[in-house]
């Protein structure tokens, strides 16, 4: 049973003051300052007047910036969807593997997650660029197919032109999937692992096929895990900076890149602050939606 703080005021203060003070001073105040700046105007190279204007938010909604918000949401949404499509079967296979295999597979999925994000993104560049492995493999198949076609008396395919896999939107999505896949697999695995398997056996015994069982039994039961996997993938993907910066082209900027530009190169802090807070509100909206879905799921489960 929890104790009332009045019963041990000294212990309460000793435990509470350092973390709370840290959180307020080194987290809340910095965010509050950014929030205040989002209602300010530039008054000089380093001065910002807190005029209480909404002009920065107004500017954020102009088509140029609004489109970037829409685009970032689409890219993050697509990333989440792809992670779900790939991650679900992987999580299913891990959840139903033997105990030893399971430990190893989980470790293998988690290991890249412990590796530096920048290094992983850099590693992907070497694979995707024009003289990278994907193109080498494609060239090999192309040349073999070409040789085969000459052998059977058809026109050869002509020279192989390497595909441009980098510096475009597709590269950003591939990169984001690459980086966020473990985020999706782990919560899905956790949900599938604690699921009541007898329900699946019942479904199979009653004549449903595997796909049908997965679709009408496993997916509804794992819904809370799916919802948290989706959220945990969507939020960092939405605010991704490094992946679009390194893998994207000039037109693949996401919100985070625009924010960075306002703070570093364009030196327009109030506008950057407004964009940051809009991104934060979007994140909170995503969390709220997830909470509602989760609650509804719990109600359905209880009924």
């Amino acid at each position: 049973m929890e104790q009332s703080w009045r019963q041990a005021k000294n212990a309460f203060a000793a435990l509470g003051v350092p973390p709370v003070a840290w959180l307020i001073f080194f987290f809340m105040i910095p965010l509050a300052v950014v929030w205040a700046y989002s209602f300010g105007t530039n008054a000089g190279p380093t001065e910002i007047d807190l005029t209480g204007t909404f002009a920065n938010y107004g500017r954020s909604l102009q088509p140029l910036y609004f489109d970037i918000f829409v685009k970032s949401s689409i890219v993050a949404g697509l990333t989440t969807l792809l992670c779900l499509i790939v991650g679900f079967p992987v999580a299913l296979a891990i959840a139903f593997a033997g105990p030893r295999t399971k430990t190893w597979l989980l470790l293998l999925i988690m290991l890249p997650f412990w590796t530096n994000l920048l290094i992983r993104t850099y590693a992907l560049i070497a694979v995707l660029r024009e003289q990278g492995y994907v193109n080498f493999t494609a060239e090999w198949f192309w040349n073999n197919a070409s040789g085969l076609m000459t052998a059977v008396g058809l026109q050869p395919l002509g020279d192989f032109h390497p595909m441009t896999l980098l510096y475009n939107n597709a590269a950003v999505v591939i990169g984001l999937v690459y980086v966020h896949l473990p985020f999706m697999v782990l919560p899905l695995y956790a949900a599938l692992d604690r699921m009541d398997r007898s329900l699946m056996e019942a479904s199979l015994d009653l004549g449903a096929g595997h796909l049908r069982t997965i679709w009408s039994v496993v997916v509804p039961l794992a819904a809370p895990g799916i919802a948290s996997g989706v959220l945990i993938t969507f939020i960092p993907a939405l605010g991704a900076y490094l992946t679009p910066d390194l893998l994207g082209g000039t037109d693949s900027q996401m919100i985070a890149n625009v924010i960075e530009r306002q703070f570093k190169r364009a030196n327009d802090w109030p506008f950057g602050a407004a964009l940051s807070f809009l991104l934060m509100y979007l994140t909170f909206i995503a969390i709220a939606i997830q909470a509602v879905v989760q609650r509804r799921g719990a109600k359905v489960g209880a009924a």
Binding site: E2, Q3, S4, W5, A8, A11, F12, L15, P18, P19, V20, L23, F26, F27, I29, P30, L31, V33, V34, P89, L92, A93, A95, F96, A97, L105, L108, L111, W114, T115, N116, L117, L118, I119, R120, Y122, A123, L124, A126, V127, Q131, Y178, M200, E201, I235, P236, G239, Y241, L242, I255, A256, I259, F263, G272, A273, S276, L279, M280, T283, I287
Partner: protein, 293 residues
């Protein structure tokens, strides 16, 4: 069928040819193919990166021969070594402070009822969910306008701003992990210690801390990797003399891609994997040492 079932479960290692059981999804080829492809997708780039750090060719394209040259160059690159030392120093300080703050807040939330508890829980969740870029700019503004970190401080004090930023986003993770661990604590043990004459402090150290230990270890591991991994927030708080390893690698990438970057990255990957393995080992030891009831 129902008579045959128990027999199937008793049989420990079914012969290879046998059809996979209804729920043995890993023994079905479509899933094996997906798992295999996913692992290739996850590992091929990393293995390629590591392999080419040993390549004699300057261009990361064709394998020409084995060399350790790039490692030599990376080791002799003073700014790279400095960045590496900075990163490890920051990660170490961040881990220590985060574990202390995280453990304190976890015990606070676990032990006490107090007004504003929900608000505190919510605020502690914020650094976990707020996008990195927002936290990065917040730290930039904070250290530029509100609390300028004195420049020209001797090493490692000049790393203060980055370290503070890292602690701010790491310690709430420790709180979450330790709190989850505390949920399994039997409060009667604490009462027993007090009945037997231990004071508040003694009870905390001899009863509560040993129980928290696995949580503290995994929290420390998490804080260490989060700090070592962070690029975005550091990018906004780092000054010209306070470069961390990821920031340094980023600027090298912008400038030119040489196998030296591969060598440096390989070192970091190996260091991280070793620390993780050590941490997991410590964690399982701490769990085993749990006093038997």
């Amino acid at each position: 069928m129902s008579i045959a079932e128990p027999v199937a479960t008793i049989e420990r290692a079914p012969p290879k040819r046998e059809k996979p059981g209804p729920l043995e999804y890993l023994r079905r080829w479509p899933l094996q193919a997906i798992v295999g492809a996913t692992l290739i997708f996850l590992y091929a780039p990393l293995i390629t990166l590591m392999a080419f750090s040993f390549n004699t060719s300057r261009r990361n394209i064709v394998w020409e021969g084995f060399t350790l040259d790039w490692y030599g160059r990376a080791m002799n690159d003073d700014s790279l070594v400095q960045a590496f030392v900075n990163s490890l120093t920051i990660a170490l300080i961040c881990t220590i402070v985060s574990v202390i703050l995280g453990a304190m807040s976890a015990v606070l939330l676990w032990r006490f009822r107090f007004p504003g508890k929900t608000a505190l829980e919510g605020s502690l969740a914020l650094p976990i969910v707020v996008p990195e870029i927002c936290m990065g700019v917040a730290m930039l503004v904070f250290f530029a306008r509100i609390f300028p970190w004195p420049t020209g401080m001797p090493w490692p004090l000049n790393l203060g701003a980055i370290t503070i930023a890292h602690i701010s986003f790491s310690f709430p993770f420790v709180t979450t992990v330790v709190r989850a661990r505390l949920a399994s604590f039997n409060r009667e043990l604490e009462e027993a210690a007090k009945d037997l004459g231990a004071d508040e402090w003694r009870t905390f150290w001899d009863v509560l801390v040993p129980h928290m230990m696995p949580g503290l270890v995994s929290g420390a591991l998490l804080a260490f990797t989060l700090s070592l991994d962070d690029f975005v927030i550091t990018f906004f708080t780092a000054g010209p003399d306070t470069i961390t390893f990821p920031v340094k690698v980023y600027s090298m990438l912008r400038f030119s891609v040489t196998p030296e970057v591969n060598a440096a990255s390989t070192i970091l990957i190996v260091v991280t994997v070793l620390f993780t393995a050590l941490g997991l080992q410590l964690q399982s030891q701490a769990e085993k040492q749990k006093p038997k009831p």
